[in-house]
């Protein structure tokens, strides 16, 4: 039965995780993400799952990776300082191809910054935060409903590609209350156990979509999992340049080659638009009103909302750059995703940033002012 509720974004995230069959949560309290941990501590025991409040975020990231190898879908949630602490273990998640979900409810930063205020200051950190070459997957919700939906999607992508997935929320989406519709036919990707062929299973081989099914510890495959560069068996192989290249390229390609499956954007009124507003996460909330006013004044403006900042939806942005003259990028930072838009637009359209920090969302008028400035 479809259920309709009125909930806080962080609560919707926890409900989404439970719906996706997450049964392990490890975390450390931090504003503005704490309600997710609190909700998980209430919900998990009821659903047969485990909640552990760890001693810090480094431990939390480690614990969810350990739990994932125990055969559980596992998640943590944090913000600014906490996500910085998790970076090394997130990188471990990439190289060991461990499905985990990390929720980052972004807040004003750097450092302790503005605990209770919103920001999108970690967009690039989600891309490059851990050392090394890797291709992350990240989803950015703009509403309570999307926080629920994208958390489920994050688990599905994590399982499908055996990769850490981040939900890049922010304080606005985390703390607001809105209507949430919980459908009764949610698509859930279950983990696939590898087939048992005597001694022949290679846990780090790549037959399907760039990766291979993973067993749980205790299943009898006796596998070795290491953060060192390894071969298909999982055995360290750190001095051969070819082995390293092969592994890291495969890890990147399993995401890049599946862009079509992973990337998601929402296009509105783009067909005739001279100006397209490319937004991601919360700023999208002000885009509709700005477009309506602009269109009332005869300016043809459209919207492209990026659901998945990573991998960056290059094809979709490239297309927009061909048809529109100008692209406006409102972001709650001093310019991060705008560089990606510029890179992909490659001069085909003029790219304008509306960077805003301090913690308050863009108002529709601020976007409208930029539209008029361009047209003026």
């Amino acid at each position: 039965m479809v259920e309709v509720r009125f909930v806080q974004g962080n609560e919707a995230c926890a409900l989404g995780a439970i719906a996706a069959n997450c049964r392990f949560f490890a975390g450390y309290p931090i504003t503005p993400s704490t309600e997710i941990a609190e909700q998980m501590s209430i919900l998990l025991p009821k659903y047969g799952g485990s909640f552990v409040q760890m001693e810090d975020e480094i431990a939390s990231a480690g614990a969810i990776i350990g739990a994932s190898w125990s055969g559980m879908k596992a998640m943590t949630a944090t913000s600014g300082p906490g996500i910085s602490l998790m970076q090394e273990n997130i990188g471990y998640g990439f190289i060991t191809e461990t499905p985990i979900v990390i929720i980052n409810v972004q807040r004003g930063s750097p450092s302790t910054g503005q605990p209770t205020m919103s920001a999108q200051a970690d967009m690039m950190q989600a891309r490059w935060g851990s050392h090394g070459d890797y291709e992350p997957i990240a989803l950015a919700p703009s509403s309570v409903q999307e926080f629920f939906d994208f958390t489920i999607k994050a688990f599905n992508l994590a399982e499908k590609y055996r990769v850490p997935v981040t939900v890049l929320a922010d304080e606005v989406v985390g703390h607001m209350r809105e209507k949430l519709v919980i459908p009764d036919d949610i698509e859930i990707v279950a983990r696939k156990r590898p087939e048992k062929v005597d001694g022949q299973y290679l846990p780090f081989d790549a037959p399907e979509c760039g990766t291979t099914p993973m067993p749980a510890f205790g299943d009898g495959f006796n596998i070795h999992v290491t953060g060192l560069t390894h071969d298909e068996r999982g055995y360290p192989d750190t001095n051969d340049p070819e082995s390293h290249t092969k592994l890291v390229e495969r890890l990147c390609n399993k995401v890049l080659m599946n862009r079509k499956d992973i990337c998601s954007v929402k296009k509105e009124l783009c067909d005739d638009a001279d100006i397209v507003i490319v937004s991601c996460g919360s700023p999208y909330r002000s885009v509709g009103a700005a477009i309506k006013k602009a269109r009332e004044e005869g300016i043809k403006v459209g919207s492209l909302k990026i659901d998945t900042p990573w991998p960056f939806p290059e094809e979709e942005i490239r297309e927009i750059a061909k048809t529109a003259e100008d692209i406006i990028v409102p972001e709650m930072n001093l310019g991060q995703m705008v560089h990606e838009v510029e890179r992909v637009a490659a001069g085909e359209a003029n790219v304008h940033l509306i960077g805003k920090i301090g913690g308050i969302l863009h108002k529709p008028e601020e976007i409208l002012a930029k539209i008029k400035e361009i047209k003026g």
Binding site: N21, R23, F24, A26, L44, P45, K46, Y47, G48, G49, S50, F51, V52, M54, E55, D56, I58, A59, S60, A61, G62, A63, I64, I65, G66, A67, S68, W69, S70, G71, M72, K73, A74, E88, N89, Y92, P99, E159, I188, A190, R191, K192, R193, A216, F217, G218, G220, F221, N222, I223, H224, V225, T226, G227, L228, Y235, P236
Partner: protein, 286 residues
């Protein structure tokens, strides 16, 4: 005479040999005592999962033919916590070093002990950072030399067995590589204890600790460790000055109490709505 086959070879990933340990390193002795301790228990080897951090000591699980998670430096206990709570039926064993467990992982160590999570932790304490080439560690004796203590360490070292006991572990023992019998017995007890078991093994790194501290051969390190070990019962009757530079060996704690994963399991049993309980990532709710 025919070369004697190591009786524990069956537990090894033979396709990963030879190992990386230097000749005379204590890690091999600890591995053997672990297998001996394991064989003293009812535990099925197939039910063992191993977790380690980074360091020479943390390389041990990679040679054992079981599921093994070689994690990040200092964090083995965090990963092991998730693994054990996720599947409390596994017998989880952690291999770590003095740097891994007590320096970068010190916070995880005291919290895992506080939670009394059912893990068996074997900490190979060679008083030095072996893997990175001989820098001092939080257990390096005052006055000992390392590549980052060229004039001798001035810091007071941690007493790991006391530290972990104070933090709440239910089983704690310290032995050395010169006490293989007592050590394997302690490992056996640790494996059998349902709670956080910490076995500190004072070991030799002839390559770095030995070379920097005028004990170039494995034998001289062995002698040094043996001569300086004092049983806990005897040590209790000695004063501080007599104990300076001594390695106190024996059982430090043996006080079983409820452990974390059992506590969580109980909480879940009391609260879960059976129809909604999903047990793993492999299942689908229909």
């Amino acid at each position: 005479m025919a070369k004697q086959e190591n009786p524990y070879k069956k537990y090894l990933r033979e396709d990963r040999l030879p190992h990386i340990f230097c000749p005379g390193c204590g890690n091999g002795i600890v591995m053997n005592t672990f297998f001996k301790g394991l064989e003293g228990t009812d535990i099925d080897f197939d039910n063992i999962a191993m977790v380690s951090g980074i360091g020479c000591s943390s390389r041990v699980p990679g040679y054992v033919k079981c599921d093994s998670l070689h994690t990040t430096h200092g964090r083995a206990l965090s990963f092991a916590t998730g693994l054990k709570v996720g599947n409390p039926d596994l017998d989880v064993v952690v291999f770590t070093g003095d740097g891994d467990a007590a320096s970068i992982g010190g916070n995880h160590l005291i919290h895992a002990a506080r939670r009394n999570i059912n893990l068996t932790v074997i900490c190979i304490n060679n008083n030095i950072y072996g893997m990175t080439g001989g820098q001092i560690s939080p257990t390096s004796p005052k006055g000992s030399f390392g590549t980052t203590a060229p004039y001798g360490s001035r810091d007071l070292p941690f007493d790991l067995a006391e530290l972990v006991s104070a933090a709440g572990a239910s089983y704690v023992a310290r032995w050395t590589t010169t006490h293989p019998i007592q050590l394997s017995k302690a490992i056996q007890k640790g494996l059998e204890n349902e709670g956080f078991s910490f076995i500190e093994v004072v070991s030799q790194c002839p390559t770095y600790f030995g070379r920097k501290n005028k004990m170039k051969t494995p034998l001289s390190m062995h002698q040094y460790i043996k001569e300086n070990s004092i049983n806990k019962r005897r040590a209790e009757k000695m004063d501080e000055s007599e104990l300076e530079g001594k390695i106190i060996v024996g059982e430090f704690t043996n006080k079983p109490h409820k452990e974390l994963s059992a506590n969580i399991k109980e909480l879940v049993e009391e609260n879960s709505n059976k129809g909604l309980a999903i047990k793993s990532a492999f299942e689908e709710l229909d």
